[in-house]
Symmetry: C5
Amino acid sequence: MGGATCWKYLPKLLSLHICLCVSGSVVNVWPSVLRKHCEKAGEKRFRLTLPPNHTGVITCRRRQMTVSYNLDVSSTSIIAFLKLQLRWRGSIWKSVMKELVIFTTLFAFVTTVYRTNYFLSEEQRKFWDNFSALFDQKLDYIPLTFMLGFFVTIIVGRWNDIFNNIGWVDNTALLLATYIRGSDEKSRLLRRNILRYMVLTQVMIFRDISMQVRRRFPTLETVVAAGFMLEAEREKYEELQLKYNKYFLPIQWCFTLLYEARTQGKIGADVMLNELIKSVSDFRRGLGQLCNFDWVPIPLVYPQVVFLAVRSYFFLCLIARQSVLIDGEPPKDNNPVYPLVPFLMTALQFIFYVGWMKVAESLMNPLGEDDDDFECNFLLDRNLAVGLTIVDDCYNEAPAQQKDIFWS
Amino acid sequence: MGGATCWKYLPKLLSLHICLCVSGSVVNVWPSVLRKHCEKAGEKRFRLTLPPNHTGVITCRRRQMTVSYNLDVSSTSIIAFLKLQLRWRGSIWKSVMKELVIFTTLFAFVTTVYRTNYFLSEEQRKFWDNFSALFDQKLDYIPLTFMLGFFVTIIVGRWNDIFNNIGWVDNTALLLATYIRGSDEKSRLLRRNILRYMVLTQVMIFRDISMQVRRRFPTLETVVAAGFMLEAEREKYEELQLKYNKYFLPIQWCFTLLYEARTQGKIGADVMLNELIKSVSDFRRGLGQLCNFDWVPIPLVYPQVVFLAVRSYFFLCLIARQSVLIDGEPPKDNNPVYPLVPFLMTALQFIFYVGWMKVAESLMNPLGEDDDDFECNFLLDRNLAVGLTIVDDCYNEAPAQQKDIFWS
Amino acid sequence: MGGATCWKYLPKLLSLHICLCVSGSVVNVWPSVLRKHCEKAGEKRFRLTLPPNHTGVITCRRRQMTVSYNLDVSSTSIIAFLKLQLRWRGSIWKSVMKELVIFTTLFAFVTTVYRTNYFLSEEQRKFWDNFSALFDQKLDYIPLTFMLGFFVTIIVGRWNDIFNNIGWVDNTALLLATYIRGSDEKSRLLRRNILRYMVLTQVMIFRDISMQVRRRFPTLETVVAAGFMLEAEREKYEELQLKYNKYFLPIQWCFTLLYEARTQGKIGADVMLNELIKSVSDFRRGLGQLCNFDWVPIPLVYPQVVFLAVRSYFFLCLIARQSVLIDGEPPKDNNPVYPLVPFLMTALQFIFYVGWMKVAESLMNPLGEDDDDFECNFLLDRNLAVGLTIVDDCYNEAPAQQKDIFWS
Amino acid sequence: MGGATCWKYLPKLLSLHICLCVSGSVVNVWPSVLRKHCEKAGEKRFRLTLPPNHTGVITCRRRQMTVSYNLDVSSTSIIAFLKLQLRWRGSIWKSVMKELVIFTTLFAFVTTVYRTNYFLSEEQRKFWDNFSALFDQKLDYIPLTFMLGFFVTIIVGRWNDIFNNIGWVDNTALLLATYIRGSDEKSRLLRRNILRYMVLTQVMIFRDISMQVRRRFPTLETVVAAGFMLEAEREKYEELQLKYNKYFLPIQWCFTLLYEARTQGKIGADVMLNELIKSVSDFRRGLGQLCNFDWVPIPLVYPQVVFLAVRSYFFLCLIARQSVLIDGEPPKDNNPVYPLVPFLMTALQFIFYVGWMKVAESLMNPLGEDDDDFECNFLLDRNLAVGLTIVDDCYNEAPAQQKDIFWS
Amino acid sequence: MGGATCWKYLPKLLSLHICLCVSGSVVNVWPSVLRKHCEKAGEKRFRLTLPPNHTGVITCRRRQMTVSYNLDVSSTSIIAFLKLQLRWRGSIWKSVMKELVIFTTLFAFVTTVYRTNYFLSEEQRKFWDNFSALFDQKLDYIPLTFMLGFFVTIIVGRWNDIFNNIGWVDNTALLLATYIRGSDEKSRLLRRNILRYMVLTQVMIFRDISMQVRRRFPTLETVVAAGFMLEAEREKYEELQLKYNKYFLPIQWCFTLLYEARTQGKIGADVMLNELIKSVSDFRRGLGQLCNFDWVPIPLVYPQVVFLAVRSYFFLCLIARQSVLIDGEPPKDNNPVYPLVPFLMTALQFIFYVGWMKVAESLMNPLGEDDDDFECNFLLDRNLAVGLTIVDDCYNEAPAQQKDIFWS
């Protein structure tokens, strides 16, 4: 009973995750949390108390970051272009490569059958000629370009909305630190806990909509272990019986604490209480919006149609692009280089269209685990760390007032 | 007089609806409501009092959910693609299948007439050759791609607006629980009823604009039976004579109660009352917006033009795509496989265009009964349940204030 | 002097307008107004006092409603498609029919000249063959599809903005009823008049921008007669000399009355007064936006270019589409059915493009008199009726507070 | 010293501007201002005191209005279409005419050289034939349609933003009249001046971004002369030394006056002061936005590319469209009418594309001097006149409270 | 220790930057700062104290301004068109020139190989003919137009968002000057410092996201030297240990100071304090948005696909466009001018497409160093200068209240 406990030396590099293999599924432990624990305990090693019935193996993994490339495009030049192209993480090359290899292999196979004399008689080849020419002609029935263009535009709109609602605590934290007065322990507790409850809500909701976060926090116990929640709070949370999700609960705790602070005079005026309530409420609304996007996605038919169109198009290309005609006639001299041209162009086309489609695919679920997806775990840690610093460490701090150099 | 009453054992699975066949039309009863009733009465069976002049047969039906597929696209890969394609509910396959079968059958029939020797003489076939070639050539007069692309983009915008205004009570409920003080029965009544009136307004409006909800609540009596309204309120509601719809009435009750609460001192300050009024008002405004969207749809001509274009295009394809020409010439060897190529490509085209059109059709009325439509009934039940929990069960609750693990 | 007076029995059907032919132009009288008048006077006939120098003939007309078709598209199926197509009011058929008939007639005429031997010699026909083929080839210089697509998208954006600002009084009315206290006659007068002034502003502005409303209210006297304004107010309104429009005046009356109400203690707090002022102000801002849209339309050149392009395209088709070529060659057997194909396809093209253009035309002035346009008169009557009900009849009403069925 | 003074009789028509030629550049004087002056002085002639070192000649000019055509499109019909087309001001015809004439002339010249026997030998003509055919074939390398479509869509978005921020004082004026109490001279002064300072800010900013306004107000002296500013204010304004623009100054005066009014008790509550401040602030923010749009336009490259593409396209057409081929072959009979067809179609194409481009050009700078541009001068005069009427003439006015005709 | 100090005479032209070469990297010093220093010290030369371990060389550079061209397009005419085209800075010519020269050179080289007899035999040339013709035919597999069109539209949306959040202090400065009362030194200090902290936050954030600003302020010492920060503040700032960025700190100082001002009675009411807090908070939120845009760019794949498509297209053109065919046949007379036509058209195409791509490239990072990018350094200086003028120099100033010329 009580879960396993294991010891490990603190990793040197903060940019490394510690992945804890817990009964098969992987849990990530953030170094910052560890460090806190250890420094408090004056140790260089850390101990991890696992939730009951878990055994763990600790490995290290590098932290992945959303791919940022703004520096590469700070001015427009050929160098900038090359720099942009020669990246691997989150690049077109990485996302297209696997499928391009498959496509090329299949194409080579069909070409071999078609162009060598081992498989087809002269008769059959003539038939095949017409057959592939026919396909080639009809390929433009599939309206790839527009489907992709319009679809990506719509997806980008939604992606933007998600991005705008992802939730930063800074504003509320600053308000809390300003409007809730008092340096005594009770006031500090109040400010810290209200802020923590906000981040807790974010954790709860992200667990439902982001694979990254779900993997980090498979159970509420792991949330407690990471310090976002206290044991007593978890019990209180699980006490409430409700068929629907209970993400409002930590927010309601915030509100209750805020009202109490007002009645105790820690908040100076009703208008300030109101402002605080509104600020927390806005934070909640943004997160609620995220849930809604998860609840009602773009109707399934739309991505299905688009993705199917792209893939069936290139499947048909395997046959259609075997045909080599110049203005409807085969070229007179039968140079073996000619068939390379349609293949090369089709491969390029493959890169562009499938790459474009990948944009849509990766934007459709920006909270997923692709290279371009939002770093939800980073956001949670950052929100808690920055928030606590604001409401507690920097409470009521301001530099001594001096004259600036333009004073006259 | 007084309606029939019938008894039934409680269903085990909460995910089943109970459909009550009332004089021909179907009424859905939610298990949660039943369970409440029964538990109060200490029974395992439930009794349904039907409104006067109704007789009922009770059957069970599974609850349908908006099709969610975010998990399938959490990373972009070929597996993800296949997972996405191999769904049935809300999929392109489900929506296109019926019409595709009809199209294929008709196409096969025309082909039979055209290509076998039983129906046409040599002369007639020549005529037919030219005839279908002509049609084929002129088919691109119909600007399918752009019509669909622009139309879908516009429809998606409207769909988004509807989605954003669909109405969640959480924010207001949290405010009510914070600003209206008191644990006595009168205060609890006040909070619960204000919230219930909000959901009631939503019920009233959804009955007008959503087929699902109308079917669940064909009369006001059914609304009363489901607990969204009390009998006395229904009488008061029907008392008011007005030529226009009276959806403002429950909101006005909310406002009256809120003002009373302020005069009785249950609300501590004018600025809080004002905040509450604004919050309820925003909720109403969103619902009003939904009514407006229903009142003034996208001008009829637009969907008519688009849908007609798609369907007449494929109707003409039945003739046009019988023609098999390679660069304007029939292929020399008359292989019977050749005509399959244009058919196959046309079938693919059919799937993509009609699928795209289905996106538009199903987005045009997101409160309807397609697989992708918003689950309005779920929303109503959820709003009431979560709202009551917030304003009553969780009133003034907060965990004991303890130091978090980062405290220093 | 003093205008004519005429008597008429009350119409049975509320859905009929009474059109009053006043010196040539038509005035609509709303039955609801009449009924009010008559019931007060205890009569079954009504008397209409015309403004000076008017003589009137009373006829009846059916009320037109914005075309709503949401019910037809609540699920996507072939039946839904047919239902959608087989409507007449506001449909593509109604809007395209007239021009399609003209186009067909002209086309038939040109065909007759071209294909019969009465008008052209062999020589001339050869010339004509080349001539129309040339035209046919060059027709795609005219970029119809994109012009229409981009134009409609822009127009829809503007249409949406107009729709969002069209003005509903419900929110303000509910605030008035809540924040202005008192059941005495003076308080009731105050609430009723403030609301009436708001609707009056809407009437004034709609008279300028909507033909429907202008026709109903050709003079301020007719506004008085309909009860939106009192005689004394009209005089006060006309007293003010200003070169620019005076729509702000009734709003200023609202503000003055509101401030008075505050000083008399009818409004309990400054924050409430402020909220009321903001609410009325928002209403005014929306209407002001409507005026602005009227003041600065989309630059004339844009619709001109688009509409001219569509119409000149089809004018040229009259010649171009006489040509029947298969891949640049006339078909060998000269079957008289062949010319039907390009005609048929051109007719279809005509329906789709002109239909699309009609969407743009009717959206460009949504306050006009097409079937799809907003029902401004309905809105005005509804706003007044609902508004007065809220601020007066339902003042301070709420049902007795009882326990709901989920109480525990 | 002191500037010239000239006398002139008041123009009868208010719709005429008086243009004052001051040392070469033209200044417009608004009749309303004159009339005011004269009526006060009891004269029928007016005197204009010019700023120092100016001599003037007075002429009259008609006032230009933004082209409004909503009435023409209130219903969709052929008549409406013709009405729309047969306008001149702001029309496609006016904007395209000049360039179309140039294009036609050049085209005729090239045709003359090419088709008559005076300039080219048979050999050369053959060369030319191929040459122009080649060009004709390659012309579609230039992607006119999409560049224009996407560009116009982006420009329209920006145009809309400018339009929404152009600045109306009505809301603030109404607030001023309601919240600043007192009919004594000091209170009236306060209200009038605050409003005037707002319009003054608008004048200052419009002088920088609108050619029309700059021409009317070339110096601050002319602003003083027009009554938007007093001499003392001008001095105070110019006293402030700042490298950057000083448009905030009149707004700061407003704020100072408002705060004073509060301390003197003319404004009844802090919440009212705050509302006034916010209202003035919103007005300023809108104008600031206008400045920003002027500061950072759409990157120059975009319009350059688009406009260059259109013009070079039609330049190449001068050669390319000389070629008359039917499916790649010259027509057998050499009828001199044939070359007319490509010319006609190119001319039409010219009208549509250049017309479309003109839309973009005129929307790019909506504060310029085209027919479609916003009437900035009208707006300034209107804002001042309406604003002063609201805050002063209509202060505290409301009609006597009477029962409306629906009272029961 | 202590850094180098150098003396230099003040530059006459304010439009010149002073570039200070500090250990290799360039620091810009703004003349306005210098002037201030010098005037205070009564000197015509200025002294620059470099941070420790720096040596510097002072050179002068012209200040670059965002390219503004509104004046050129104030009316639409041919002259306006030419004026627009004949600009160099920020123009299509400047951005395309280099790559166009490279393209032309390569094209000329390939042509030389292909068309002269030195390199290829007759046989090889035939092969090459077919080869390039094949490429030419397949080039339209690459969907340049739509990719660019849709991509630019999305980029423009983001660019707009950045532009709207770039941060202006005017509104907050005006509020500070109005609501914080007192002319004593302490009040002045308060107002000046709060404003300075706001601009300081902007400096901090801009250093992270804009190359221009980073180059001007490579270290916090340079920020102190420029007067945006005081030495004591820098120490306080660096004292705080936090793994994440600390941009909230100066804002928190603002809040603390504001709250103090309220408790000291310098701010008259809670509602005013709240308004100030909200205003500063909005400013911060805008800057936070900028950080977020930097944190999560448009997914890398999208620009990669688009830019790669454009460049590979023109690379293939080097071969494909060598082919000269008229309707699939080489022209009969082998005039050496013919090959010029495809080259010319390809060059034009190059200009348009690459130009369009440059729009996208330069919009993607609007805070970079292209000609069209926002002038971040200018904005920072302006915000500080204007802000200090508002809160200090113009505090409580208003002209004497006089009657305007329309007074009656």
